[in-house]
Amino acid sequence: MHKLLTDKPGSQMVLLGNEAIARGAIEAGVAVTTTYPGTPSSEISLNFFQISQECDLYFEYSTNEKVALEVAAATANCGVRTMCMMKHVGLNVAADALMTLAYVGVTGGLVILTADDPFMFSSQNEQDNRYYGKLSGLPILEPSSVEEAKDMIGYAFDLSEKLQEPVLFRTTTRINHSTAPVTLGAIKPRVTKGAFKRDPFSYVTVPAVSRKLHVKLLANLDKALAISETSEYNRISGSGKWGIICNGVSDAYVQDAIDDLKIGDRTRILRIGFSHPMPTQKISSFLKDCEKVLIVEEGEPFMEESVRSIAQESGIMIPIRGKDKTLFSRLYEYSPRQVRQVIANYFGVPYTPEPVMDVSDVPEIPQRPPNLCAGCSHRATFYEVKKAAEGLDTIYPTDIGCYTLGFLPPLGMGDFLICMGGSTSTPCGFSRVSDQKVVSFIGDSTFFHSGITGLINAVFNQHNFTLIILDNGITAMTGHQPNPGVDMSLMKLDGYGRLSIEEIVKAIGVPHIAVVHPYKVGKSIETIRDALNFKGVSVVIAKEICTLYAKSLKKAKSRPFTINDKCKNHRNCVNLLGCPAFFIENERVKIDPVMCAGCAVCAQICPENAIVPLKA
């Protein structure tokens, strides 16, 4: 049985934040779960995916976040408790659905989880999704710890049903990827079937209907405000004239700082866990008890703007500070030391921090950036495209996935990236106004996610570029999740369809289509060169299973290669491919037989034919 289905209320279990969130939803009787995977939210979905194979919980990897939210909007409007998970930028994709779903509302609880990523550990930006609460008029809940995350999910479902609105549940990486002991609660029975009650004048958002629905949304927001005022998640602790208002992980840093600085007797803390709408009365009365207030929130001054406006309305003139050149930044995540230091500075508490270690005499340590795996077929494809494009002035738009790493040396393949799916649309613009040859890259899952529409645009508007679809048969970067092109029988799962990328590209009407097997270097270069020479839209599908995934399926080509004494140290293998299985020993290139995946790509580019299979 899956550990998150353990029915032992009161017992303790060590859980990752994302597991605690999934457990919270299971305890709340969630019956439908939808997602598009994205770090730092991915493990929530992974757990639901596993759990759904053991019980009647429905889970799906949807094509993208918008689809996931639309599926969820329908199940929740049949009265079924539903959760929809995504990373912060995923909510941008789903925003169109979100904004009007807020007007329509839900009948069954719907919790929309957005996992924000301050510092961008694995994201393209660090946008603060609390503003989606303001933009859409929906309530936001934000946990401060792993334990609280579990309990707050249940509260979120109840709140959603009380207000008949979706609830935004906002986490940050340090909640999703922290681990702590959690006390299990009772599991509510799942209600997996519901029914939709037809009522077009409440659900079909033509202007006349929406005008009424907006009135309803604002009334709901007033109800939400009243609940936020008395919510247990907006709590005041301590007493004293120094006020601190904080949220999320900052709460732990503040509590630790107050202990370390021994100012508990002088400090009053308002922890905001229900952050939209902000509890106006509670904040106003908190401010009245303080001489000065510091706002501790990572990201944007979301609470600060609101607190200042509440102070203005209540005629409170005390200093209220947060984001400021001398205090907190809008950049990156906070650290306990930084929070301790800023609190000490702001309130004038004597504090001598532990001196920062002088590492000026430490030699420069070679960087260890993430790299494509040994034997990754993307490396082969990048090499082949580079070869095929020799002599051309090129632009290489790229997309989001493992292959984004191709932009690093020595491959250096990747010139422009803004969002998922952009690699099929930005080439339309690049090729329209520049005379450079545009060759762009997209992975299989990203193609399904949001690449197809850009390709349709390219064919309709007769743009001129080559799209390379890197089809490794799985969503690799986020940990091998399925996508519509995946052969689900490899996972021994039935009940799934399978879409062919080649058939889709054909159906779109792309005039030049080719398929390559990137481990066959010479043939691939030739085929890619033909595609590059084509005037118009050409597509090359590079098909080879993800080498890590193949290993996990025990389908890997495991025969490693070695370098024999014919080697004349040209080092084309290392310098052009940069495969991590190579290392240098006594000025000679060697291959780590444990790491080598046996793809034989280096063997094909060695000018001396010195790379050969290792004899068993």
Binding site: V14, S122, Y253, P336, V362, I365, R368, P370, M477, F582
Partner: protein, 196 residues
């Protein structure tokens, strides 16, 4: 801060530091000691650096600021050196000395630090350095992948963490696959004995 112990583990993706952290977490749970930890997942899986922070005691924070680690365990020597900014003069450092040079070295974008200089630098700047060839010991124990468990042995021996060898071994029993248990227990004992 005195009633709290802060541990940083740095490793290269694939060296098993998530398992090491989870063993320590389980051991803390068995001992009834409050703890929290934080890890960075995702891109790190692709051969990058993986850092875990473990906080034992009553603190609420799950991350450890620069200069505030009580103990640092490095699974790879150059990564131990890179994490030195997490330490202060009272920090105890445990490191594997068997290198895994990053591919940037192979393509000529950096020079791997000299292992002797690396150790003397760490020794000079911290309270104590325990350096061991965990890769060789893991191999001797019967599995090259047991580097993480060898280092857990050496870490436990320092006595910095509020965990006994017996509890950590009990946690290893509950967290590792039965097929690897004997090798792991042997690896733990080798690491534990080495550090003396």
């Amino acid at each position: 801060m005195s009633d709290t112990t802060r541990l940083i583990i740095v490793a290269v993706g694939g060296q098993g530091n998530l398992l090491a952290s989870s063993v320590l977490g389980e051991a803390a749970l068995l001992s009834g000691i409050p703890f929290r930890m934080s890890e960075i997942h995702g891109m790190a899986q692709r051969g990058g650096v993986v850092e875990s922070s473990l906080v034992f005691g009553k603190a609420g924070s799950t991350i450890i600021s620069d200069g505030e680690a009580d103990v640092l365990v490095g699974f790879e020597p150059s990564e131990t050196l890179r994490a030195l900014n997490k330490c202060n003069s009272k920090t105890i450092v445990v490191t594997n000395i068997s290198p895994l040079p990053p591919f940037t070295v192979a393509i000529g974008k950096g020079v791997y630090p000299d292992l002797n200089q690396l150790q003397s630098l760490i020794r000079a700047k911290t309270a104590k350095l325990i350096a061991l060839d965990a890769a060789a010991m893991a191999k001797e124990a019967g599995n090259v992948m047991a580097v993480n468990i060898v280092l857990l042995g050496a870490l436990t021996r320092t006595g910095v963490l509020p965990l006994t060898a017996e509890t950590v071994k009990a946690a290893i029993r509950s967290k590792t696959k039965p097929a690897f248990l004997d090798v792991n227990l042997k690896a733990f004992d080798m690491g534990f004995r080495q550090n003396s």
